[in-house]
Symmetry: C2
């Protein structure tokens, strides 16, 4: 029977997501610990089988909502299909991997076996899930530069220093608040709310609050080079 199915060319298909969030000053990913073989004890990405009447993105959104209570995904995007014939033991299963981003102000109520882990200090990962997390991290880092994905890491309103912390954690290096503000302002991505945040206990000037002008993904720096000639408003 298994052979009949294999020969029929039909395959299992699962969807998996590397859900990233900046928590406690570091970029973290949501993983659950496998209780049973295979790979008991190892940490895996949330996800599951693709349902009959949904496409892959709908599926991963549904499963994240149901299984780990993640409903506040500010951004979801496909990473790649992982298809090595032996990527999981037993009957073959392909996986469509996603990057999911959660704003830093929400804290989903995750199940017992589920926890956040810093992407730069991953615990032993199940199957090919470690590679998926790294792909997700690299994709996020790249897109922080040439798109407005930052909105998906940030709360609705924030100070520039708070945003700086988010970018620094995600990129893995110190970002200057001054220049961050200027880059985003130059691109028209930031707008002041008019309010200010109260200063800390040690004083200091109150910080202005900002929000992103758009909360959908947008490529803001389309071509690094080889721009079209006479590049007036063509970008």
């Amino acid at each position: 029977m298994v052979d009949a199915i294999t020969r029929s060319g039909l395959l299992g298909h699962e969807v998996l997501a590397a859900v990233l969030q900046v928590r406690c000053g570091s970029l973290q990913v949501l993983l659950w610990q496998r209780a049973r073989a295979p790979q008991a004890g190892r940490w895996a990405l949330p996800g599951g089988r693709l349902g009959e009447h949904e496409d892959v993105e709908a599926s991963i959104r549904r499963q994240l909502a149901v299984k780990v209570d993640v409903r506040q995904l500010a951004h979801v995007e496909q990473l790649a299909v992982f298809s090595a014939p032996d990527r999981v033991p037993g009957p073959r299963v392909l996986a469509t991997a996603f990057l999911g981003l959660v704003p830093s102000d929400v804290d989903p109520e995750v199940p017992e076996d589920t926890a956040w882990h810093a992407v730069d200090a991953l615990p032993p990962a199940a199957f090919d899930h470690g590679a998926i997390v790294l792909r997700a991290r690299d994709r996020l880092r790249a897109k922080l530069s040439y798109t407005n994905v930052g909105f998906a890491l940030a709360p609705p309103e924030f100070t520039v220093s708070a945003l700086r912390e988010l970018y620094s954690a995600a990129l893995g290096y110190r970002v200057s608040a001054t220049n961050l503000q200027r880059v985003l302002a130059r691109r028209g991505l930031l707008e002041p709310t008019g309010d200010t945040a109260p200063p800390g206990p040690s004083g200091g000037r109150p910080a202005a609050l900002f929000r992103f002008t758009r909360r959908d993904m947008l490529v803001t720096d389309p071509f690094a080079v080889l721009r079209p000639p006479g590049g007036r408003d063509q970008r």
Copy 2:
């Protein structure tokens, strides 16, 4: 029986490729015309069912070699999974879509029903294949700017003007030979072979021949902005 399979969670999976090449001064894609229903007469991407013991990239390479004689792919990369439940009539089939690039000096012997079409004047496309072609085109255009993918469109040796034609066709706008050469040279992607190409019948200075220093994909302009501080050799 069909229902039993459906409920089992098993799915058909195919691989499809938008094979792009610059031909006659325009960016073209390889398509075959469907003879039979569904969608008879419409043009489809080459590809087919994923085999048992191969991953998706091996599969698309194999199928392109066997079915349309494309063996000279200088670059292959995944685009995305297309998974709308009704993307094809009948039992559900997911598709992993690829971008494939063929250097302009090769001309595969394609079958009778297969032909090259300008990506900017596509004939009626089958299923969701039109969208896949556009994704492939956009991906190529983006990567021409910040990677060295140009090598995959170019023959082993070429003049700067020939390369300019290729970039212009792929990008859809006139690229300056002067600046193209400088950008690629600055990045260390181009090296002179030492030879020159004979001038045309109307004379002119003989053009120096160049080759790409590497023929594997390489990101040459990693972050457009938000560079790490003290950006000496960190890129």
